[in-house]
C-alpha cells in the first residue's frame, strides 16, 4: 500500500471480488424461482403438413405449427436471455427416442414485454424434421416446447413443457 500502483491494484481487485460476491448473491436470490414461476404454454400444435419426402434415402418432413406461450414468468434479474426451441419427439424401430429441433428463438431480458409473449400463427419450421433413416411414414410425433435459461451468473439450465401437455400428430402413411 506504499505506492500508487499497489493501491490502485488493491482497490480494483477488491472491487472485483465484491462484484463477484454480489453476482453470487443475485444468483442465490433466485435459486428456487422455477419452482414457483413457470412459463404458460397455451398452444403448441401442428397447423399444416407441407411435405414428407425421401431425399437420398433419408426422410424429411416439412410442416408449420401454431405456438402461443407466455415466457415472461421465466425472466428475472439474473436471466440474460432464454433460448426457446420446439422439439419433435418420435419413436422408430431403429431408435427408440428421436428428438429433432424444428424451430428456435432467442428472447432477451431487455426485449419489450410483447416479445416475451410468443404468438406464432402457422409458422414454418426453421429446420426440417429429418430422420436418421427412412422411417418417418405413419409415425406419431410429439411437439414440445423447451427453453434454456442463460443466467448472468450461474449455470445454464433447461426448462420444458409439463409432461402430458404436449400435442401429438401422426405423419402421413405415404410420401406427399
Amino acid at each position: 500500500m506504499h505506492t500508487v500502483w499497489v493501491r490502485l491494484n488493491a482497490v480494483v481487485f477488491f472491487g472485483l471480488t465484491v462484484l463477484l460476491c454480489l453476482s453470487i448473491l443475485a444468483a442465490l436470490s433466485k435459486f428456487n424461482h422455477t419452482a414457483h414461476y413457470q412459463p404458460i404454454i397455451k398452444k403448441l400444435a401442428l397447423n399444416n403438413m407441407k411435405s414428407l419426402k425421401n431425399h437420398g434415402g433419408v426422410d424429411r418432413a416439412l410442416l408449420s405449427f401454431d405456438l402461443q406461450a407466455d415466457m415472461t414468468p421465466a425472466f428475472h434479474w439474473n436471466i440474460k436471455q432464454l433460448f426457446v426451441y420446439v422439439i419433435a419427439t418420435y419413436k422408430t424401430d431403429t431408435n427408440p427416442k428421436n428428438q429433432i429441433v424444428l424451430w428456435d428463438r432467442i428472447i432477451e431480458n431487455t426485449d419489450p414485454p410483447e416479445k416475451k409473449q410468443l404468438n406464432e400463427k402457422n409458422v414454418f419450421v426453421k429446420y426440417g424434421l429429418v430422420d436418421q433413416g427412412a422411417e418417418l411414414r405413419g409415425k406419431e410425433v410429439e411437439l414440445s416446447l423447451h427453453w434454456d435459461h442463460m443466467p448472468l451468473t450461474g449455470t445454464l439450465f433447461v426448462g420444458k413443457q409439463k409432461e402430458g401437455t404436449e400435442s401429438a400428430f401422426v405423419l402421413p402413411a405415404e410420401y406427399l
Binding site: 482497490v11 472491487g15 465484491v18 443475485a26
Partner: protein, 82 residues
C-alpha cells in the same frame, strides 16, 4: 503515505465499495435489474480510486519518526593504518 495513512486508505475503500455494492444490490433486487448493481458498484470503485489511490495530505498526518542519524564515520578519527 505513512503507515497510519495506508491503514486509513484501506479501511476507506473497503467500506466505500461494500456500501455502494450493497445499496445497489438492494435497489436492483427491488427493481429486478442487475445493471443498477453494476452501476452503483462502478460509482463506488470510482470514488475509491479518487479517494484512496492518490497520496492525499490526509494520509500523511503521522510521519514516521526516525532516529537521529549517526555521525558519519569518515568524520571520526582517521583509521589506523597497519
Amino acid at each position: 503515505m505513512d503507515y497510519e495513512g495506508q491503514k486509513l486508505s484501506e479501511i476507506l475503500f473497503y467500506y466505500i465499495i461494500i456500501l455502494f455494492g450493497v445499496i445497489g444490490w438492494i435497489y436492483g433486487y427491488f427493481l429486478q435489474d442487475f445493471t443498477y448493481v453494476f452501476y452503483s458498484w462502478g460509482v463506488g470503485v470510482g470514488i475509491s480510486i479518487l479517494l484512496c489511490v492518490p497520496d492525499w495530505p490526509i494520509y500523511n498526518k503521522h510521519p514516521v519518526k526516525w532516529l537521529e542519524s549517526i555521525p558519519d564515520r569518515s568524520q571520526e578519527e582517521p583509521k589506523k593504518s597497519k
